[in-house]
């Protein structure tokens, strides 16, 4: 399964390098001088950004599902993404000249705040109602999103905010996407704690029994989720459903042992987002449909299918 996924990811990456408004062929790479530039400046960075953000979003979804002990939540729909957007908006309003680093930092902080808030709400909900948690997450994310929209509307920044609320990769160029590498680093570091997250997903008693530092693992997980989400929103915008759909499919097929399954989750997320991005590039060629829209449509369908097929596996 891992090999098949890796092969698919490589194949999609190669396709991604050669699909776009400007024609690029394998032969042109060797003859036309501008062809290499196109790869280095645009197609290459775009493909890297898609692969990293797709993989990291899927991983952060898997981690959040373990922390909350519910399979129907993910950062981009349960408020963390909206929290990040709120942070970006606040920086834009109060410190328009701030550097991208400041923007990133504040977005991470507000994303963390939103994630902690969600967790606090969820812990007061009855554990026997898994779908209630999902609904509360959607409403919570919706309220935060509405706050962002309202502030942006008041400040006449709606169009500006739209860039972050609807993720897409057409703006990814060399020099403007490098933050995404940090996302890869954070997701990689989170993998080191894979066993801890798997144990926390088994519940409080199991966690204490195995001597897990419950609070520390919780904080670690929330930090990873918030940073991945915030940096993704800052660089490419919100891409919903990746963190929801991908971990669920992987758990169905390969289980919950994150040490073994997180790499599969990352590769599946990368491949699925890349496929959606390529699809968005060719369906209305030469125009583009944002990847968030494509994945939203596909993801909503997959989510419905999961809700209907998931009854036996609900926690």
């Amino acid at each position: 399964m891992a090999l098949a996924l890796a092969g698919m990811l490589v194949a999609l990456s190669i396709i991604s390098l050669f699909v776009g408004v400007i024609d690029l062929s394998w032969a042109a790479l060797w003859s036309e001088p501008g062809a290499i530039d196109l790869l280095v400046v645009s197609r290459g960075p775009r493909t890297i950004a898609v692969v990293i953000s797709g993989g990291a979003l899927a991983v952060s979804g898997a981690i959040m599902q373990m922390l909350v002990r519910n399979r129907f939540v993910e950062p981009m729909t349960a408020g963390t993404g909206q929290g990040a957007a709120l942070g970006i908006l606040l920086v834009t309003l109060f410190a328009p000249g701030a550097s991208i680093l400041v923007k990133m930092l504040l977005a991470s902080i507000t994303a963390l705040g939103a994630a902690v808030g969600f967790l606090a709400i969820v812990q007061r909900l009855p554990p026997v109602q898994p779908l209630l948690v999902a609904l509360v997450g959607l409403i919570y994310g919706g309220i935060l999103g509405a706050v962002v929209t309202f502030i942006a509307y008041q400040a006449d920044l709606l169009q500006y905010v739209e860039i972050w609320m609807n993720g897409e990769f057409s703006g990814v160029l060399q020099g403007r996407y490098e933050l995404i590498w940090l996302v890869a680093v954070v997701a990689g570091l989170a993998y080191l704690a894979a066993d801890q997250f798997a144990i926390i997903g088994m519940g409080r008693t199991a966690s204490i029994n195995l001597g897990l530092n419950y609070r520390q693992t919780m904080v670690l997980g929330l930090l990873a989720i918030s940073i991945v989400t915030a940096l993704t929103v800052v660089t490419v915008g919100m891409i919903p459903f990746v963190g929801l759909v991908v971990p669920n499919i992987v758990a169905r097929l390969a289980g919950d042992n994150l040490r073994r399954t997180l790499p599969l989750t990352a590769m599946s997320g990368a491949a699925l987002v890349l496929a959606c991005d390529i699809f968005g590039r060719i369906i209305r060629y030469p125009y583009e449909i944002p990847v968030g829209t494509v994945f939203g449509a596909i993801g909503a369908g997959l989510f419905l299918w999961l809700l209907h097929g998931a009854k036996r596996h609900v926690w």
Binding site: I199, N209, L210, G211, L212, N213, G255
Partner: protein
């Protein structure tokens, strides 16, 4: 040896435990019995550090609950999670493997893997090792959980009403397993039981509780009497003695 001194616990300003003093020697199966609300589960949860201490002191050998680090305690005592905590999507081998987490912290060694295989063999789970927990019966799943606790290699094993939802075959199987762990693997088992007959049949020592205090402690034939049942449970059940064993008429 588990030594409990002057242990009190209040929930919502209602006392659940009132100054409990109790010593449980190492070795054997110890059963906590008593009516609902007697404080058995609270006492067990406190020993297992699942709820915070309020007043008093619990020592597990030289380790003090509340003061000792969580991961150190995880190598000394284990608690079986209740079956109601639904199964994660793990294979039996993966679940049992997590029992070694307190030792390897994410980097299992060859010795850890050996312990896991040993636990699978001890509980005759080899044939089920690659099966996922959600595809097993309730009894099989619990056997896998107990195997995980076994792999955790702790001197003390705590269980809170593990016979809930088990049929008679699975209940007897689990109790025999626990007896075997005590006799042949030098584990001390502390178990909360609802059914006095199971306690009398499988425990070496019974602790009877009522209203947050200890009423009686001793061997089953000494503790399980008609007078005790009347005092602790307020019911006039007959106690039969057959071949030196105690049986409560129901």
């Amino acid at each position: 040896m588990i030594t409990i001194t002057d242990l009190s616990y209040d929930r919502d300003e209602t006392p659940v435990l009132r100054g409990v003093d109790l010593t449980l020697n190492a070795g054997g199966v110890k059963a906590l019995i008593g009516p609902n609300g007697a404080g058995k589960s609270t006492l067990l949860s406190l020993i297992a550090r699942l709820i915070p201490m309020q007043s008093g002191r619990i020592m597990v050998d030289d380790l003090e609950i509340g003061a000792c680090a969580n991961d150190v305690l995880a190598r000394r005592l284990a608690i079986l999670p209740q079956a109601s905590e639904a199964a994660p999507l793990l294979t039996v081998r993966e679940l049992v493997g997590f029992g070694r987490y307190p030792y390897h912290k994410g980097r299992p060694t060859a010795a850890d893997r050996e312990k896991v295989e040993d636990a699978l063999a001890t509980f005759e789970l080899q044939a089920l090792a690659e099966r996922r927990l959600d595809s097993l019966s309730g009894g099989q799943r619990q056997r896998a959980q107990v195997a995980m606790i076994f792999a955790q290699d702790t001197d003390y094993i705590l269980l809170d009403e593990p016979l809930n939802n088990l049929d008679i075959a699975a209940s007897r199987g689990l109790m025999r397993t626990l007896q075997d762990l005590a006799q042949h693997h030098a584990r001390t088992i502390v178990i909360v039981l609802h059914d006095i007959n199971y306690a009398a049949a499988y425990a070496n020592e019974i602790v009877a509780m009522k209203d947050g205090g200890i009423v009686a402690q001793g061997a089953p034939q000494d503790v399980v009497t008609e007078a005790m049942l009347r005092e602790v449970y307020g019911t006039a059940a007959a106690v039969h003695r057959i071949d030196g064993r105690v049986l409560v008429g129901v």
